[in-house]
Amino acid sequence: MLARLIVRRLFFLVFVLFGLSVVTFSLSHIVPGDPARLMAGPRASASTVDKIRERYGLNDPLPAQYVNYVQGVLRLDLGDSFTTRRPVRDDLARYLPATLELGFFAFILSTVVGVPLGVLSAVKRDKWPDHIARFVSISGLAMPVFWLAIMAQFLFFGQLGWLPDGGRLPIGSDPPPNVTTLYTVDALLAGEWGTFATAVRHLLLPTIVLAYGSLAVITRMVRGGMLEVLNQDYIRTARAKGVAQKTVVVGHALKNALLPTVTSLGLQIGLLLSGAFLVEIVFSWPGIGRYAVEAIQRLDYNATMATTLIIAFVFVMMNLVVDVLYLFLDPRITYS
């Protein structure tokens, strides 16, 4: 059963990846203007442009170019960035860890705060915990994440001076020895307490800002799920039997209330990935979001398309994991 589901999903994954490649390929080939000219720069001679066109196979018919492109992607050859003059693959390897660290902690934070807040809000309905939770979920959905980022930066760096304005570590300081690529974890592993504290201070604002949006969604979903479940007969039965409130809420209700939230995890990941684009710019966070935005601003199409492809790939894979996870959590689901 499980095997069949995974096979089905993998099949769909192949289809989606094919679609992805078609979309990114078409996007990079309907670029207004001549990509060879863009690569060569405005002052290059006509013969240089021709050479580039020849080298990148831009004279071939489109289907041949597509096959070429896919072969490249399969070999993890994503082309060279016009601006950094390095293979895009190397650039991504360099910037992806920063985004993963930011996204990982934002995800943990939004779950660790969002789930209890949602539960509390449902149990204490229309009392002050509920008002707080509803304020969080309403404001989190409406506030532009980049605005929140600038405001937080203004307050905690500009006015109060409590936290740094951006970056992963102060300029000029050495990152901890690389093990997991996450600075905080690596610093701990190396026993560099000072570096750890600095890394955490740098991580704090971007993480909270990025987490706020998905925190809002999680709180809202858990609250809705809990309110629905708490009205069910089996909860009343449990209460009538004299089961303690805590056991009813955590043991009986929460388990079922969490299911819709788990389904929305895929959405959360999308939110966090897109949010990272905007948060990273404001906090000068050296992740792929900032990399992509800089590539966009410099018309660096190879870098832009590769980043899009990678992010979509990560997104699709994580959604696959969520689907499988969901199956484990809810035996009633059969995905027929």
């Binding site: 404001s139 506030m143 532009p144 203004f154 939110l271 990935l273 899009t308």
Partner: protein, 313 residues
């Protein structure tokens, strides 16, 4: 679930079944008084909905008259006398680095936001409804092909797909609209398809089929109209999100370009002055937040009003 409830099972209204023009006037009277009750519940019993509605109305009025009633010319520069002035009586939201009045710019910006949202969602609803109804109505292989095509677009995180498309096409507002239309339509396709699948099983549709109503007529006169409430709820929520997405794209340098008073564009410049001029980022962001908030509240309220089940919560 909610889809089932949101479309009330209406009789074949205004349709010549068995000779009569209308099936039942008592039925339609009841519907009207039900509507009045819902409206009362929607606006009077729930103050938040009223707040949302008021903000939305103000937003629409500003979109139409904003530029006319703005106290200053939103584009008029004065770099000698009024650069980065804090809020005051003559400039309630302060001025920007070129001495332009921020209040006037924020007011003028509403029109850009509304225009983008209107264009994007008109396209998204039209195209999404078309694909969704074809898939839902014909089923089988048509459904399979159209829906896999739709799923492909949903496989990207929406904002990132929009960024990729807009960055390829060019840095103009019109390309942002194209990009956002591309990411918004698949949701309507799915929504409408799900509606059609549930509605076409209803008795009155079967009845229509049995009296020999033709396919397109059944689809356009009897099935699609019942899917409208759900689409409207989604549309209300999406106006806010379309405005938010436009500003996000403008913020990273796509979409509207300076000197446009688009809110995201303004904040993109304002970011460079965040230490000396808090008001510069604060007010455009506040305007954006309030607008999205209002459309969210209204969408939620509509859902509660049209979906009796969720109203009990």
């Amino acid at each position: 679930m909610s889809a089932e409830q949101a479309a009330p099972a209406r009789p074949l209204s205004a349709e010549p079944v068995a000779g009569g023009r209308r099936l039942d006037t008592a039925e339609s009277n009841r519907e009207r008084s039900q509507l009045k009750r819902n409206l009362h519940k929607f606006l009077v019993q729930n103050r938040l909905n009223l707040v949302g509605l008021v903000i939305v109305v103000v937003f629409f009025l500003l979109a139409v008259f904003g530029q006319t009633i703005a106290p200053h010319d939103p584009y008029a520069q004065d770099i000698t006398g009024s650069k980065l002035l804090g809020p005051s009586l003559s400039h309630p939201m302060g001025t920007d680095e070129l001495g332009r009045d921020l209040l006037s710019r924020v007011m003028t910006g509403t029109r850009i936001s509304l225009q983008v949202a209107a264009v994007v969602l008109t396209f998204a609803v039209t195209f999404g409804t078309l694909i969704g109804s074809l898939a839902g109505y014909f089923g089988g292989i048509v459904d399979e092909i159209l829906m896999r095509f739709t799923d492909m677009f949903l496989a990207f995180p929406a904002l990132i797909l929009a960024i990729a498309i807009a960055s390829t096409l060019g840095r103009e507002l019109v390309w942002t609209m194209v990009a956002l239309s591309t990411v918004f339509w698949p949701w309507y396709a799915r929504l409408v398809r799900a509606q059609i699948l549930s509605i076409r099983e209803r008795d009155y549709v079967t009845a229509g089929e049995s009296v020999g109503l033709s396919g397109p007529r059944l689809l356009f006169r009897h099935i699609l109209p019942n899917a409208i409430p759900v689409v409207i709820i989604q549309l209300t929520l999406d106006i806010g999100y379309a405005i938010l997405a436009t500003s996000s794209l403008s913020f990273i340098g796509l979409g509207a370009q300076p000197p446009s008073p688009e809110w995201g564009t303004m904040m993109s410049t304002a970011r460079n002055y965040f230490r000396e001029a808090w008001w510069y980022t604060t007010f455009p962001g506040l305007a954006l937040t309030l607008t999205v908030f209002a459309f969210n509240i209204l969408g939620d309220g509509l859902q509660d009003a049209l979906d009796p089940r969720s109203g009990q919560r």
